[in-house]
Amino acid sequence: MARWRPYLLGLLGVAALTFPFLWLQLRPNTTDNTIQTAWAPEHGLQFFGDLLPVFLAALLIWLGVRANRRWRLSDTIALTAAWQSADKTWSRYWAWIAMPLVLCGTFGFGPSNLTLMTDVGIYMLLALGLNITVGMTGLLVLGYAGFYAFGAYFFAITQQHAGFFPWWIAAPVAFPLGGLMGYLLGLPCLRLRGDYLAIVTLGFAEAFRETISNLDFTGGAQGLSIEAGNKLRGLAGLSHQQVAYVVVALVVFLAVFFVQRLYHSPIGRAWVAIRENEIAASAVGVPVVQMKLFAFSLSAAIAAAAGVLSGASDGFVSPTLCQFNQSISILAMVILGGLGNTYGVLLGAALLYLVPEYLKRVSMLQDSAFFTSLPDFLRASFLHLADYQFLIFGAVMVLMMLYRPQGLLGSTRRKEEILHR
């Protein structure tokens, strides 16, 4: 019983706090102009009915965690263990299995799924880039989307004035420019110890967003559209969605390839050393400030290139690209997937982008056989699932912090490091 007391108390607290909103209703009385409070339980019942699948999902996750602890499933599957070490032979060949599968998707997905997967690819790029700074080097960045928007706007503005400035020229140009931007921004704050970078990048992203939503040549809040000639276009019998998908997929593979090579090189080891003990790293000859600057510039450069790709596939750019939410969700992808684990953050990006999208799509299935066979109350609650995405997301994050602080594919070593810091 004592075990459950905090949970029960928490539930009671939530019930007390939500009581006026869920169970009461204000009814204006037109005859004497007063407002009466009336007992209206249907709201509350509706709310808890909607939440039923969430509870069920939580129960499932809980059982899963128990089972995992009992039978060590995650160690048996051991995706992490094999992928993390550069020496395991089969892990060298993953690309030859994954690449054809992913490229088959070009023909396997319908247009709307292709667009979705292209977006997933762009988020994977962003997560890969942010992982270099946050996961490998251990620096917190809170305004990563600023560099993403920087790349996108650089592309949009230049192509408006230059006329011919297609994405395949813009992306290689935006890459070093983004890197330069990161370098300049990192220069003053990376020379200091502590999390100054987090605040400075946060400020940068917000200032950038305010600026682009208030200037004329950036199109204000509406943003800018990208001319058809400069976008990703249909080519050789492929639709433009298919081309965008292939291009983004190839860029993701390229990025994974190079990031992994850097990670398993003296540079990657220096990054990890800085994360683990900055003073010791500098004492064994690692130029800490330079390596941090390099990591951060590379992150910024990848974000800028991803920004160009996003503009080229969507055909427009807008200030929503660098909302605070955006930065945080990229950070959440990195943390959920596993700080410092390249494959983990890819998984994190896919999950965090796809799950809410598919939750939204659940409501489109209401006439399907599966749904009509469900009892009414369950059906209604499944249809409302998307409304609760942030609630579910929050709960998942809390569970992650409790049971897997190292992320889905993070190593158990990393967990020890976090817990014993």
Partner: protein, 256 residues
């Protein structure tokens, strides 16, 4: 005898506390010099100034005649001075081998193309570094533990790993900050043997140690600090009988 390391009037203050005052020290090539003194005498602060972790307020640090005072730690390391820490500072999540590999950073070529495309030359150097790192682990007796996570090592092993890591930077002068701290007599003897073997490799060693047996056995010269001030220096026998040193360690005799 030419001095490898020489400090002239080295000083460091924290607010009103004069942690290190006017320390002159000379370490010749391939010599073992110890710095001793009661707790809080400023020994570790002195080391931190030497290795660039603190910026000294005054004085010069000459390494092979070049003043390195105020240079950041990695540049000091690059010039041939490596150190270990009193409170062990390993990279806890990395394996034992990786800990040593990190320390080879300054000897590695970082040209992007060979590195990104794994040219034969890069692979060759990666392989050679691995072998060399294993050699250092062998030297300190940790080769069998190369693939273990460094934080899972026993305390004495972690100390030896720190030494292997410092050696991997290929220094000419090694600063050891209490390498035998917390060790039992047997382990302390092994540490003495290890330090002598390091010296046989041609390195000079500057040592902070509380273990008097260790200090007296291996030092060529001893510097005694008290409240940041050098109070005695000389050969072990000489220092052992110095009245000021005895006073600093045991307190003043009652004079009535």
């Amino acid at each position: 005898m030419s001095a490898l390391l020489e400090t002239r009037g080295l000083s460091k203050t924290f607010g009103g506390l004069k942690a290190v005052q006017n320390v002159d020290l000379c370490v010749g090539a391939n010599r073992i010099v110890s710095v001793i003194g009661p707790n809080g005498a400023g020994k570790t602060t002195f080391f931190n100034c030497l290795s660039g972790i603190y910026r000294p307020d005054g004085g010069e640090i000459l390494l092979d005649g070049e003043n390195i005072a105020g240079r950041p730690p990695h540049q000091v390391c690059r010039r041939g001075m490596a150190r270990t820490f009193q409170n062990i500072r390993l990279f806890p999540e990395m394996t034992v081998l990786e800990n040593v590999l990190v320390a080879q950073f300054q000897h590695r070529s970082l040209s992007p193309f060979p590195l990104l495309f794994r040219s034969p030359k890069f692979c060759g150097s990666e392989h050679a570094c691995r072998e060399e790192a294993l050699g250092f682990l062998d030297f300190v007796g940790l080769r069998a533990h190369a693939d273990r996570i460094s934080s899972s090592l026993a305390y004495g092993q972690q100390r030896r790993l720190e030494i292997a890591r410092a050696l991997a930077t290929k220094p000419r002068l090694l600063l050891l900050d209490e390498p035998a701290a917390g060790m039992n007599p047997q382990e302390a003897i092994e540490m003495v043997q290890l330090i002598s073997r390091i010296r046989e490799r041609g390195l000079a060693i500057l040592l902070i140690e509380h273990h008097m047996k260790v200090v007296m056995t291996i030092s060529d010269e001893i510097l005694v600090l008290d409240h940041g001030v050098p109070i005695a220096r000389g050969a072990p026998q000489q220092v052992r009988n110095d009245p000021q040193v005895i006073k600093a360690y045991l307190g003043e005799e009652a004079t009535h």
